[in-house]
Symmetry: none
Subunit: 208 residues, 4 copies
């Protein structure tokens, strides 16, 4: 792309493919942003095409359907998210450190892929029961199991308070973190890290 092509030769296959990948990635980014801000049902294929500078029909050269775009957005988010959480668990830190890592990684994702996070948070409920999106619930469950194992270990080892309902605590913590995608804006006074630390302080020690 930055290398001059001499003699007006037609673009190489390499370049074409790069363009194609770019176009596809750009379409996904636009779709994710619109799905995140207007909702999936509230976003039209024309919206995506307009914002991408192409015509609606052209989108179907890259994706088989609007639903397909949602599918790719969710897979591209959930797969590395799960892998990241798995990797943390595999590292075998003590529960307090493991939980801190899970939380910090979550906040990192909110900065890294805010639109995907927002789409996941807003739409995953609506997708329950749709065969093509079963994997969303599967990932959610496997992620939940990782967190629950860490929390349980912490309670067993006595580092977390014994009187808390682990499952309920997890749900409160999970929603607290992911919901912050709706109000956290990078570039403001709060860095992603400081939000994570703020949350850790609150979650570990409470208000009192």
């Amino acid at each position: 792309m930055t290398v001059a092509r001499a003699g007006g030769r037609p673009p190489k296959k390499e370049a074409v493919r790069a363009d194609g990948i770019d176009r596809r990635a750009r379409l996904l980014a636009v779709a994710a942003e619109l799905f995140a801000t207007q909702g999936y049902a509230g976003t039209t294929v024309r919206d995506i095409a307009d914002k991408s500078g192409i015509l609606p029909g052209s989108i179907y050269h890259h994706f088989s359907s609007k639903e397909d775009m949602l599918d790719v957005i969710l897979r591209d988010f959930l797969s590395p998210l799960y892998e990241g959480f798995s990797e943390i668990e595999r590292q075998g830190d003590d529960p307090r450190e493991a939980l801190s890592k899970l939380i910090r990684v979550s906040f990192a994702w909110i900065v890294e892929a805010p639109h995907a996070v927002a789409v996941y948070q807003s739409e995953s409920d609506n997708l329950i029961g749709q065969e093509a999106f079963e994997y969303v619930a599967d990932y959610s469950l496997k992620i939940e199991q990782i967190w629950l194992r860490v929390l349980t270990a912490g309670q067993t080892s006595g580092v977390f308070r014994p009187d808390l309902d682990i499952k309920v605590s997890y749900l409160f913590i999970r929603d607290s973190i992911w919901s912050s995608v709706r109000w956290y804006r990078p570039g403001g006074q709060l860095t992603s890290e400081s939000v994570a630390e703020e949350f850790l302080a609150l979650a570990f020690h409470g208000l009192l």
Copy 2:
């Protein structure tokens, strides 16, 4: 309705009006449920009509538009919600007690009007910038100010930890609570009160 009508006399105007109010209320309940579960954009007027056993056109005798239904649902929720929070603040309890009350009342609303809560949570972002729904942001702000005053008072009086960012803490707490509408099911093992107590324990004392 519970009083027997002697002699088979036709229902009085009272009864007719009750029917009308009932129908309207039933339509609102159906709409709220569908908006909550499928999203506002994902719900069609036909969906509401079908589930209510009438024809789509008949809805327009009771509401001027689909948007009007959303409007009524949100107003009917936000107005008493705000009033309830205001009343708590007016009672002048110490900050810890006041916050406990705010939290317990919030969880009570989730049981009382889960669909309205879910609609408020899911749709209020999309409504920003729509003149007809400015009041939603207004109420949200006024509610936020009540919570922030209580939290600030608690920090000033030394009962809440001084190192927390009040605004950020509020946002975490708020989202934690309202998001539970997505997973809490009354009638299960957890009563509404026990969820509130669980949350209070977590929020006040933390995991450690």
Copy 3:
């Protein structure tokens, strides 16, 4: 209506019928005005009801349909219009005088029943071919025949110019007159009579 009714007795049948006739007449007047200004297709039964201070359903106690209202408006206009023209022809004036009378009566109708004139002018074309409105074309034809007889007699007797196409002249004159309902406003500087005289001057002597 102005006579006090003693003892709270219910209104007599006479009064009731008068009310009924009034209501019907008022509905017709409102309908005619709306049909004239918005067109028949562009006027809703609700428009008529709103402007009459009743509910749409109540109109059907007085008229069997919206079309029925149009029917009554046109009949109430066309029948006396035709009778008036017939009477003029029957008077046996010389053609110039007869034509003057036809023209003056036409302008009188525009003041007397401007809405009916406008409805007749705007809608009669659309009604061609509708069995229920055949009488409109019938009246139009019979009226045309009266005018043509007068014009032909005038040409035969030498008072009207021999080189004019009688039929075409009639159509020009007819449309000129009836169209003035769209711009003539009684109460302004021009009286109905002066418009008629202006037209007579133009039609009889021309611009030159």
Copy 4:
């Protein structure tokens, strides 16, 4: 269209664009005809689509709304109409000749674009007050001013009778001419020119 394409080559972009323009033009022609015969309010988008052999939704690839079609029809008619009248005034003929030209051009338009004329005549009253159609009244006014200037000049120079009210005479003449679109059928015994001459004779010299 008249040039043979050798070798069965597929149509070039030129042809595609021509198709597009054709389709749009054909839709406009159909819409104008239906608006003229059934009225704008009395014509459905489905009517236009049916008569054009396409589906209702396809119309929206060419026009943004039904109202847009009316807008294009009126603009495409009024703009050249006004330009034609302007050009006549610019030629600086004596008033009698100028008026003759205005009248002859008007009748030519009735043959050239009868549907647009009929739509203009029937609907322009209903459009008053609609911001998007202000230009219709603007054009009408500017056209009226041209005619009034010619008539006034004729009266000043003594060629037109001094006792006529110029404005009223204009309105009678205008409506006479445009209304003929409702009855004049080209291809019959009367040519467009002969109708114009008939009208000129009547308007200039009168019946007597």
